[in-house]
């Protein structure tokens, strides 16, 4: 078992989503991104998916970005539908990077222009517009002041992260999943998903590679540390690419570089690629939903039951 492995932290995750309908839904097809990825410093130790009601099997596949995705359908009439994902992950600490030691951002741009190198080829996938992040002049103008000529790549991105955190207000009432970036820019308000999209758009406006990361935050921080914003639901941040360093994470909602409190589930170009629960259904009348996410640290002695 993995439990003997030395992780800096291990977590139990319960992500429960329930949909309520006033009229029966006759048929519903789903595609979900709920299984945490295994990455260089994260291992998905266990995972289960519970669907109620259910028909047939849950079919698993790997998507274009390497995320694990599950497909299932409900073909009996239902007025309530719930999906519960449970998982256990182990995390290692992120290495510290000295911002000034990173190459000038223009040099990163150059290496993206010649995608012959396999790592750069993966990164090139993330420099273009995507359904929810369409670069415009406003984004380019906002990004520009963080990227003067020759500034080290990491220093510039950290500056941009800080500015977004300072100049935008976290406000769940201001936006929803379909709010366009231009509205977020105008209101200077939004949630984690908006801020991630915003910073991705800024980086792509310069030609840099940035991808969207969906995941979870630790529900209650260790004693003495502040509780991060976005811990009671799915969280989102971004990752940017630099040759030599690979992908480095940034969380503009909390102005931090994710380390041991961010659990990665999936990544893609934007939210649309990694939406936790995608589904189409017929019928249903009025509908509503409830989500809860609980992420608990597994204490060292109690682990591995």
């Amino acid at each position: 078992m993995h439990t003997s492995q030395a992780f800096a932290a291990r977590y139990e995750i319960v992500h429960a989503t329930t949909y309520f309908y006033t009229e029966p839904v006759a048929l519903c097809h789903n595609e979900v991104h709920l299984m945490p990825r295994t990455t260089a410093r994260q291992s998905c130790l266990a995972h289960s998916l519970e669907v109620a009601p259910t028909n047939g099997e849950i079919d698993e596949a790997t998507d274009y970005f390497g995320n694990r995705v599950s497909f299932f359908r409900v073909s009996e009439p239902h007025v309530e539908f719930s999906v519960t994902a449970r998982g256990r992950v182990g995390l290692s600490s992120a290495r510290a990077i000295e911002p000034k030691a990173t190459p000038p951002w223009e040099q990163v741009l150059e290496s993206l222009r010649a995608p012959g190198e396999p790592a750069a080829f993966e990164a090139v996938q993330f420099v273009y517009d995507s359904p929810l992040v369409v670069v415009d002049e406003e984004l380019a103008a906002y990004a520009a002041s963080s990227f003067p000529c020759g500034r080290p790549w990491l220093e510039a991105i950290l500056d941009l992260t800080r500015r977004i955190h300072r100049e935008f207000v976290y406000d769940p009432a201001a936006t929803n999943v379909s709010t366009p970036l231009s509205t977020v820019m105008e209101l200077r308000r939004g949630v984690c998903q908006d801020f991630a999209h915003l910073q991705i758009g800024c980086l792509r406006s310069l030609g840099l590679a940035a991808r969207y990361v969906s995941g979870y935050l630790l529900t209650s921080p260790p004693p003495g540390q502040p509780r991060l914003i976005g811990a009671d639901a799915s969280h989102a941040w971004l990752s940017a690419w630099c040759p030599g360093l690979g992908w480095v994470d940034f969380d503009p909602t909390n102005d931090v570089m994710p380390n041991l409190e961010h659990i990665t589930v999936a990544w893609g170009r934007d939210y649309d690629d990694v939406c936790p629960i995608k589904g189409v259904f017929v019928g249903g009348g009025e509908h509503s939903m409830r989500v809860s996410v609980d992420v608990q640290l597994i204490e060292n002695g109690k682990a591995g039951h």
């Binding site: 949909y19 789903n30 079919d59 274009y64 996938q125 589904g279 189409v280 017929v282």
Partner: protein, 849 residues
């Protein structure tokens, strides 16, 4: 007589007066004015037919096109206003050797495009090696990540494709556009061929024209190979976007010609990673889909969530190898003109060959040398967005002012990678026959290739499109504002007859219409039946109303009139205002006209007929040509020209009579000409249920409460139910409620009675498709027994009796019971056999709350 004045046809050639445009390549005449040799035999033979005879035959051909319903719905108009298909009487004749070279180029191009798709949806060498900028794959909205690595049998992504060709002024052919996802036009080309070869059989035969059928045989074999490991009972379907699609005619035409079931997205469902067709008899496995639906619209789950051109989860069923789509999903990416800039180098890399057939010169401004060229030659070029796949945002630089051009150049310089430029395409001309004379028309070709083994087979012929106004072509729609021509590719040797039809003498096993009718079609026919009957009931009631309004025969007026109008108005979507008016000031002329023409009310005759017309449009390939014509006529005669307020009362009766006559004609044609399969069954079920409900409503609204004018009311009822004559034969002039109720309710020999409808319904219910031999009675059968016995146990005179409150309470009770059970029957049938379709919702749109 004018005939005497008509000059005899002269011996002069029809083609003598034709004057090609100066400086433009003409397909028929060389620049020195001589006839190109390969046209010689054709012109000779056509001259032998003669201008007058040609005109006569052409008129006939035009009627065939009209009657076959060949249409192109230019703007995807949901109301279904369609353009008639425009065909020119003279084909475009092509030399065998020239065609053979062209054909080699087209085969290579189809192989190349297939190889590009295999690379993009596979190892992506082209981007890694810099032959294709990443933007054209990873930045392309048409690159479907869900379809990457899906794997297709025999590496075939492109089962068929189309190319638009134009002849450059130097006389060589260019490809102007590629169509790689749902190539359209092959069916129109075939229909053109059928019309023209029938019109000029002798000419066609002697010119030794290559046949088109071989192409379709290849396509069918290719799709047949996809189903090689087919399970028993699986089938191939043609997936159409439906009647609102511009090319719906071709969808249904091809499905019949190729022998595939015509389906729409709602007909299909995915269960356990397999695709199924929903039919009356249950689910039928579908393993091959010839799709006419664009890439993104094929799966609302993994592709575009707002579209339902295909069933949810179709991509995943494909991922599991259980269903194959032709063409493969994601093939639309190659329709972007920008790819043409890179094809020569890609062809060397992927096929190890030089590109045989050039594309129209294309430059991607993201390359410095191209940018320099484009900026220097801007006024000669067409500029478009690099990732666009349609003609939108296309800029003809020649038509710009100097200032506009400078502004465009600045935009290109700012984001060069976002623009491409192409040379302006000037097409060649060919003679177009109109009113007995020939005029030069600009022609472009749409050619077709179908996979055959490891290569492709090109249709020896094409759809030529013709425009007499514009010489330019920019690769957009072949159809809007254009006419078409048949294309005759001459053969060097004798032509072997090929046909998709069985050779004569082959024994064909007799078949009956079975229960594999798609549920959606049954549903549509059911509703068509209901709408027809609803229209007829409303028309009859309206006729009685207007007859009373304009009648001067009864000095006491028509006291039953308000009751009749109330019965009409009660079906409106919001009757409150009209009912209030009725109570206050009785039946006014304008209120009566509202019942006819008020477009804001679904229940007005205009509203009902509009609904009928929509219902008919949806099922028009399931009803006979005659039925379709009749319904068209109702729409034509009633719809236009009767705006509110213009019509006087005296105009109304003839209009209503005509509508009733047409509706009766439709019913007659349906009764006499439809095979008694499930299609007819559901049409008739709809009609019977609706007619029963109409009579119940009418009786309910008029005879439940005691009235001083009962005599007038009964008289009107008999008139509306077209039963006056029967009543008089039986009872002379002794008008009483009991016998009237007997005739309209209980008498199963009167085709207008409820009893008659119930007996017919009972027959249908007994013969509904049943999945197993269930020994128990179905819920519908039980309902029918209850309905029929309640009615058979009833007795007219007893129903006519009033209770102490002056109400016919037992009649009231019976009618309510019948209406309730009939509605339950309709619901039950709909639930059991028909589609539970509705708008598809996205869970992502549900917000926490």
């Amino acid at each position: 007589m004018t005939d005497i004045a008509t000059p005899k046809p002269t011996r002069a050639s029809l083609f003598q007066g034709y004057r090609p445009l100066p400086g433009v390549y003409d397909e028929m005449f060389a620049s020195d004015g001589t006839l190109r040799p390969h046209w010689k035999e054709f012109t000779h033979l056509v001259d032998a037919v003669g201008s007058l005879e040609l005109g006569r035959r052409w008129e006939q051909a035009g009627r065939i096109i009209q009657e076959n319903g060949v249409t192109y719905n230019a703007h995807g108009d949901p109301e279904g206003r369609e353009r008639r298909w425009e065909l020119d009487a003279l084909p475009l004749v092509m030399r065998a050797d020239e065609w053979s070279r062209l054909s080699d180029g087209l085969v290579q191009r189809a192989r190349l495009l297939n190889a590009v798709l295999a690379d993009i949806y596979g190892p992506q060498h082209l981007v890694r090696e810099g032959l294709l900028n990443g933007q054209f794959v990873f930045g392309h909205p048409g690159f479907l990540r869900a379809c990457h690595g899906l794997g297709v049998p025999r590496g075939c992504y492109l089962h068929w494709s189309a190319a638009h060709l134009a002849r450059s002024p130097e006389g060589s052919w260019w490809v102007v556009a590629d169509r790689t996802q749902t190539p359209v036009g092959a069916g129109y080309a075939l229909e053109n061929r059928i019309v023209i070869s029938r019109m000029l059989p002798h000419v066609f035969h002697h010119c030794r024209v290559q046949r088109l059928a071989g192409f379709f045989i290849s396509l069918r074999e290719t799709l047949g190979a996809l189903a090689a490991d087919r399970r028993d009972g699986s089938r191939t379907v043609l997936l159409s976007p439906g009647p609102t699609s511009p090319t719906y005619f071709e969808d249904s035409y091809l499905s019949r010609y190729l022998g595939y079931t015509l389906v729409e997205g709602e007909d299909l469902t995915v269960r356990d990673n397999r695709a199924y067709l929903k039919t009356l008899g249950g689910l039928i496995n579908v393993d091959v889909i010839l799709r006419r639906v664009r890439d993104r619209h094929c799966d609302p789950l993994e592709l575009d969530g707002s579209a339902s051109g295909g069933p949810a989860c179709l991509v995943h069923a494909g991922r599991r190898g259980n269903v194959h789509l032709a063409n493969a999903l994601g093939s639309g990416i190659l329709e972007t003109p920008a790819f043409m800039a890179f094809l020569p180098a890609i062809c060397r890399r992927l096929l190890g060959q030089e590109l045989l057939l050039p594309s129209v010169p294309t430059w991607w401004c993201g390359e410095l040398s191209s940018l320099t060229y484009v900026l220097a030659h801007l006024e000669e070029l067409v500029v478009r967005p690099a990732l666009g796949d349609r003609a939108t945002n296309l800029v003809h630089c020649a038509s710009l002012t100097a200032a506009e051009r400078a502004e465009l150049a600045a935009r290109i310089k700012a984001r060069p990678e976002q623009f491409i430029a192409q040379e302006v395409v000037v097409r060649s001309t060919a003679p177009v026959w109109s009113d007995g004379a020939l005029r030069p028309g600009h022609v472009g070709l749409r050619t077709f290739a179908a996979a055959a083994g490891n290569s492709y087979r090109v249709m020896p012929g094409a759809l030529a499109h013709v425009s007499t106004s514009s010489p330019e072509m920019s690769g957009e729609s072949m159809f809007v504002g254009h006419g078409s021509k048949d294309v005759w590719v001459l053969s060097e040797g004798p032509v072997a007859p090929v046909t998709l039809l069985q050779p004569p003498g082959t024994q064909v096993a007799p078949r009956r219409s079975g229960h594999d009718l798609p549920s959606r079609v049954a549903d549509n026919l059911f509703w068509l039946g209901r709408h027809v009957e609803r229209a007829e009931a409303a028309s009859r009631l309206l006729r009685s109303v207007f007859a009373r309004l304009i009648s001067e025969s009864s000095p006491g007026g028509s006291p039953e009139l308000p009751l009749l109008v109330r019965a009409l108005v009660s079906h409106w979507s919001n009757p409150a205002d009209a009912l209030a008016t009725l109570d206050e000031s009785g039946v006014s002329e304008s209120l009566a006209l509202d019942c006819l023409f008020d477009q804001s009310q679904n229940g007005s005759l205009q509203g009902i007929l509009a609904a009928l017309s929509r219902a008919a449009f949806i099922v028009r390939d399931r009803i006979s040509l005659d039925s379709w014509r009749i319904l068209n006529r109702i729409d034509d005669e009633f719809h236009p020209g009767y705006p509110l307020g213009v019509v006087s009362l005296s105009d109304v009766l003839p209009i209503l009579n005509q509508v009733i006559l047409n509706l009766s004609a439709f019913s007659g044609v349906a009764t006499e000409n439809m095979t008694r399969g499930p299609g007819w069954q559901f049409l008739d079920l709809g009609r019977r249920i609706e007619r029963s409900l109409a009579i119940i409503d009418l009786l309910h609204g008029t005879v439940i409460e005691a009235s001083l004018h009962e005599h007038n009311v009964l008289d009107a009822l008999l008139e509306i139910a077209d039963s006056s004559m029967t009543y008089r034969n039986r009872y002379a002039t002794n008008l009483q409620a009991g016998p009237v109720l007997d005739l309209l309710l209980i008498d199963e020999t009167n085709p207008q009675s409820i009893g008659f409808q119930l007996a017919a319904l009972s027959h249908h219910v007994e013969h509904m498709p049943r999945q197993q031999s269930d020994p128990l009675l179905s819920a519908e059968q039980r309902l029918m027994i209850s309905l029929l016995s309640s009615l058979r146990l009833a007795e007219g005179n007893a129903l006519a009796e009033f209770d102490d409150g002056g109400v016919r309470s037992s009649l009231d009770k019976l009618l309510s019971q019948l209406a309730g059970q009939l509605r339950e029957l309709a619901r039950g049938i709909s639930h059991k056999y028909l589609v539970h379709a509705g708008p598809v919702h996205q869970m992502a749109d549900i917000l926490p709350g």
